[in-house]
């Protein structure tokens, strides 16, 4: 899969997009939240995140992009600071918008997938938030911190899921 679309959308859904800035490969490697339209390339210096996500090799004429699922991509989505931060920002936005857990879940599905959450999905979301919070508390985490962590991890889960990453 390619990175640009999910990257742009991730930034937008989380709600911390900055507009109107020239983006260089160095900037992309740093933690910036510009949605990119054009990106200057140094031929041998493809940013690692793009190289991982099948960006066209600047040395090649590429008629059609490869689209792969390699574990390096999954590691990036699971653990990279940029992705974690997007989950964090999205969780903050949900908290600002509504205090109600169920409403937060509905809003999260709307933001991430552009559709209403089904009754089952709301139920599963609640169940996840509850069981994750309980597990974190059991590990000695303070209750409100554990609750926030659960919401952050829930947002990241939506942002890395297949429905968010692929167009139907």
């Amino acid at each position: 899969m390619d990175l640009e679309r999910p990257r742009g959308s991730t930034v937008a859904r989380a709600g911390d997009t900055v507009v109107g800035q020239r983006l260089s490969p160095e900037l992309l490697n740093r933690q910036v939240t510009y949605r990119s339209v054009y990106l200057p390339f140094v031929r041998d210096g493809l940013p690692e995140s793009l190289a991982l996500f099948d960006a066209a090799d600047p040395n090649l004429v590429t008629g059609e992009r490869e689209s792969t699922n390699v574990p390096g991509q999954a590691l990036y989505l699971m653990n990279n600071g940029f992705v974690l931060r997007r989950g964090d920002v999205m969780a903050q936005r949900l908290i600002e918008e509504t205090p109600e857990a169920e409403e937060r879940i509905r809003l999260a599905f709307k933001l991430a997938y552009g559709r209403k959450a089904s009754t089952l999905e709301v139920e599963q979301g609640r169940e996840f938030l509850w069981s994750f919070t309980a597990a974190a508390v059991k590990k000695g985490e303070e209750r409100s911190r554990a609750g926030y962590k659960a919401l952050r991890v829930f947002c990241q889960a939506l942002l890395v899921s297949a429905e968010f990453r692929y167009l139907n």
Binding site: E48, N69, P71, Y76, M78, S131, K139, A157, S161, A162
Partner: protein, 475 residues
């Protein structure tokens, strides 16, 4: 979702049957995970599944020791007494007009039962002379580093082509479902093409571990913690494994729900698989890269003792751990062999950095009975001129140089090919990069003419339309 069930056409049936394979793959993965506790190396599913070679393989895996910058062959593995005799005489070739021949300042002697001539710069590797197959008739197209390095890795210096390691993985698959099949340790800056899959599916590209370019990594290396090797994004900074598993279970629940909703969605199957492989890698890779379970004797064997041999020693030991765990192709690299000047000091320093680690690797592979089917390859991108440059250096030379192989079904204690009396040009047993590639694939049980991939309307090979297997070096 059930709305079109009344119109269950043949096409829909086929599509939904194929998306059913996603569940099958997932079940297989879950099963493998259960078996992984036994630490067996279950074959990976899909494009990385271990495959039978074209014919009986002599080598099952490769460790490629890449010497960036082109080591001087006439000072290491290609003994030229005539060059010593003619020291100071006017050289016949070279970019510098009237460059004077420079006899090697180092002594050569014979080693092992085979009596191979090797210089005093490689005392520890010399002790393994009877394992070495020296290829002294090597030549390549261009005497420029970037092109020659790319050609050494891909066969072609003009166009972007898949790496040798990517071809090997494409041909043979991987023996371990929890690890990438092709690993490049500490690759140099701007070397993406050396390890790329080009038009082959991206799953065959190398996973680059360690100080892979970038200022951040250089800074990290400079900290001197001794832990230079790392895998990007291998650990979540804020979630413990069991909490992350909860998150991943939720992600997979979302993914499987999508898989169930869509009539046909092969990409989602890939997403499910790659998350599980990544999760298993998180578990397996840090342990593999942690050398603390190695004995003091083993660390000493590789020269991991805080001295100049430490850095490459760690790489060599990691390479053994990776191949032992089932990785198909591991490449290590060591730089700064471009001795235009200061040959007399810099060449011994570089040789010292690699000599003990490589000898340690050969010893360790042998005692674990891995050398017989592990092909170890040592190579620079070209050689250096017999005439001097500025009195204490040598220029680039693509016309003749030496690489070597050990283990993996090659003749030990054997020298194949030769350069002329001064070491300038390959004159016997000539081996171009294409021949070298054909031979490496042959040792892996792959016919370089049959290992093809269709791209842009035709079948491509690692060796293009060239390549002759050097049958004489086969054990």
């Amino acid at each position: 979702m059930m709305s079109n069930s009344e119109l269950f056409s043949r096409r829909t049936a086929l599509k939904s049957i194929s998306s059913g394979f996603g569940y099958l793959a997932f079940a297989a993965l879950a099963d493998q995970q259960a078996r992984a506790e036994k630490k067996t190396s279950a074959g990976a599913p899909g494009p990385l599944a271990a495959r039978e070679p074209h014919f009986a393989a002599r080598a099952k895996r490769v460790i490629f020791l890449s010497m960036r910058g082109a080591p001087s062959h006439v000072d290491t593995f290609d003994y030229k007494p005539q060059l010593t005799k003619d020291d100071g005489k006017e050289g016949k070739f070279g970019r510098l007009r009237g460059g004077r021949l420079l006899g090697s300042p180092w002594e050569f002697s014979q080693h092992g039962e085979s009596g191979l001539w090797i210089s005093e710069l490689m005392p520890e590797i010399s002790a393994h002379a009877d394992e070495l197959c020296l290829l002294s008739g090597m030549h390549t197209d261009l005497p420029n580093h970037p092109q020659a390095q790319v050609q050494m890795h891909t066969g072609n210096h003009q166009f972007v082509r898949p790496s040798l390691g990517a071809w090997a993985l494409y041909g043979l698959g991987s023996e371990n479902a929890n690890l990438p099949g092709f690993i490049a340790l500490n690759p140099g800056n701007g070397s993406a093409q050396h390890f790329g899959s080009a038009f082959l599916p991206a799953i065959y590209q190398a996973a680059r571990f360690g100080a892979a370019g970038g200022r951040r990594n250089v800074a990290r290396r400079g900290r001197g913690s001794g832990r230079q090797e790392s895998v990007p994004n291998i650990k979540n900074p804020s979630l413990e494994t069991d909490l992350q598993r909860l998150q991943l279970d939720y992600v997979q629940k979302l993914n499987r729900a999508k898989l169930g909703r869509d009539v046909h969605q092969p990409a989602v199957e890939g997403v499910i698989e790659s998350f599980e492989l990544a999760f298993r890698m998180q578990d397996e890779v840090p342990g593999l890269m942690d050398l603390s379970d190695e004995s003091k004797q083993t660390l000493a064997l590789y020269g991991i003792d805080g001295s100049a041999t430490e850095r490459f020693g760690r790489q060599c030991l990691l390479a053994r751990r990776f191949v032992e765990a089932g990785v198909r192709f591991v490449e290590l690299s060591h730089g700064n062999w471009d001795h235009h000047r200061n040959l007399s000091e810099d060449l011994p320093a570089r040789c010292n950095e690699i000599d003990k680690p490589i000898a340690g690797l050969l010893t360790d592979l042998k005692r674990r009975d891995l050398l017989k089917d592990t092909l170890v390859i040592w190579a620079g991108e070209f050689g250096r001129t017999p005439h001097g440059q500025g009195g204490d250096g040598r220029d680039h030379n693509n016309k003749g140089y030496t690489t070597w192989m050990a283990g993996g079904g090659v003749k030990g204690g054997f020298r194949y090919g030769a350069t002329d009396a001064h070491g300038y040009e390959a004159v016997a047993g000539k081996m171009h990069i294409h021949d070298w590639h054909a031979t490496i694939l042959h040792l892996l049980g792959l016919d370089h003419e049959k290992l093809t991939y269709r791209h842009a309307g035709r079948d491509f090979r690692l060796t293009d339309v060239h390549g002759v297997v050097a049958k004489k070096i086969l054990a």
